[in-house]
Amino acid sequence: MSPQPVAAIIGMGDAYASLKDRKDPMQLAVEATYGALADAGVGKHQIDAVFTGRSPWADKRSQWSNIFISHMQMPVTLNSELTMHGAGLTATIAIASQMIAAGRAEYVLCLQSDATELFVDAVAMGAEADADPQFEIPYGPTIPSLYAQAACRYFHEYGITEEDLADVAIANQRWAMQHPHAAKARFGEIDRAKVMASPYVATPLRRWMCSTWGGGTGGALVVTSVENARRAAKPVYVMGYGSASTHEYLSDRMNLRSCRFPGLGALPNLTHTATAEASRQAFAMAGLGHRDIDMAQISVNFAHMAPIVMEDLGFAAKGKGIEIYREGRTGIDGDLPTDTNGGWLSFGQPGISCNMDSFVEAIRQLRGEALGLAPSKRPRTALVQGAGGMLAAGAVTILSTQS
């Protein structure tokens, strides 16, 4: 049987803020939502349910999705936040698809916004948000230092070096240079020497191997049935999805003795993530193979996560993910253009909305409406991978312009 879509995205809206053009998370969310509704040709009273990721860093009120529908004066049957960090946001499409398949919703709105650096001291807040306040915070960890634990092990187990990671930063920066909203675009082209000359943030990660915050973004998607999408102007079909969540704090992960997901590998390890299981589910559901994927938008907040995620997605064997970057396969002429807005490393991570930025970029590219560079061969399928927390959760969605 040929691959069958399970739902469709018929409306997309995006919004941007910067130090010169300040907008708060609610303003970004509202702007993106009205953009998505107009794009879909749907009114707000037709939206049956609303899903978001967890509260924006720049507006940490709990029950943020309640606050959003309240602000919009948009009563719905169900609204909620998927709290598995950025992966939860990526998985909103899965929940929307499930409600639609169950006949409990016709139109579902999935959205997120954030503007961390415009409103809060993220360095101070960073570790407190994601490290264990009982057993880790008393030692002063930062988010880079927690991700660096994985880099330390990845180097040790697979012989990867800092120079290898420089190649990831270089590849992503090439895309970012041409994107109007990419935080690092102004720095222009970089090379290995430039990356290796940047100071350590937390060993072995240097500044160019770490994402930057980068302004504010909002993104909203209207999801509906495949049947409804046949009347839409520019539908993007959801072919498959998957997700997995293994822990909140790294200390729990390190002491996990067994796991139901074979993709997590032999325990303990810090070199396999929940993305492996999410990917397995998504490909199985889509009925597609890795060669069918024309483009990827993935979660690379630190450079070593690029090869690790590529491996977990099944695009390379463990320890070999870096070759995808080294061979130029993620570039404009490559067979797997990846992070085409510059990714989290160079586009930036405005906050939790970075996972929605990945969807926005995928949909713009699939529709031929890129704000920056487009791959030389127009993609017809895209894989969007969202990770979150301290290697805590992963979600994968496979999209296609073909039904």
Binding site: A124, P133, Q134, F135, H156, T203, S251, P268
Partner: protein, 137 residues
């Protein structure tokens, strides 16, 4: 959740399961849990064994010895108190008893590597004594 600071140091957000752990540390004792049913070591502290599900956990003293599993030296601290002590190194120790503990390494940043034998020492931050690890004595 609000983290409590004393003398600018974040104090552990103590949960009831771990109360004996924090109390023992005040007397410079390092402890962990073991399940009396399946014999597995258990960490972080819990009320039920995650391995067998039994409510059969007891506290045991650790020898305070292990090997470096992973580490990272922080060059940019999260708050002024931490910024004042950079560079400092945090990471995981594989304890001899079979559990893995997050800690700070009292080692020169260039002198530490995976697999190094380390042993416990203690440091008081605010009102809480914490276990940190340095080269095995």
């Amino acid at each position: 959740m609000e983290i409590h600071y004393i003398d600018s140091w974040p104090q552990p957000y103590s949960q009831m399961d771990a109360a004996p752990y924090w109390a023992a540390l005040q007397e410079e004792g390092l402890t962990f849990q073991r399940c009396t049913d399946c014999r597995e070591t258990v960490w972080p502290a819990k009320s039920h064994c995650p391995n067998c599900g039994k409510r059969a956990l007891v506290w045991e003293g650790s020898k305070g010895k292990g090997k470096v599993y992973s580490f990272s030296t922080i060059m940019r601290g999260p708050t002024p108190a931490w910024q004042a002590i950079v560079p400092y190194t945090v990471g995981f120790v594989e304890m001899e008893e079979g559990y893995i503990l997050f800690t700070q390494f009292d080692c020169a940043p260039d002198a530490i590597k995976i697999g190094d034998a380390v042993s416990v020492r203690y440091i008081k931050r605010g009102e809480q004594t914490l276990p940190i690890f340095g080269p095995a004595s």
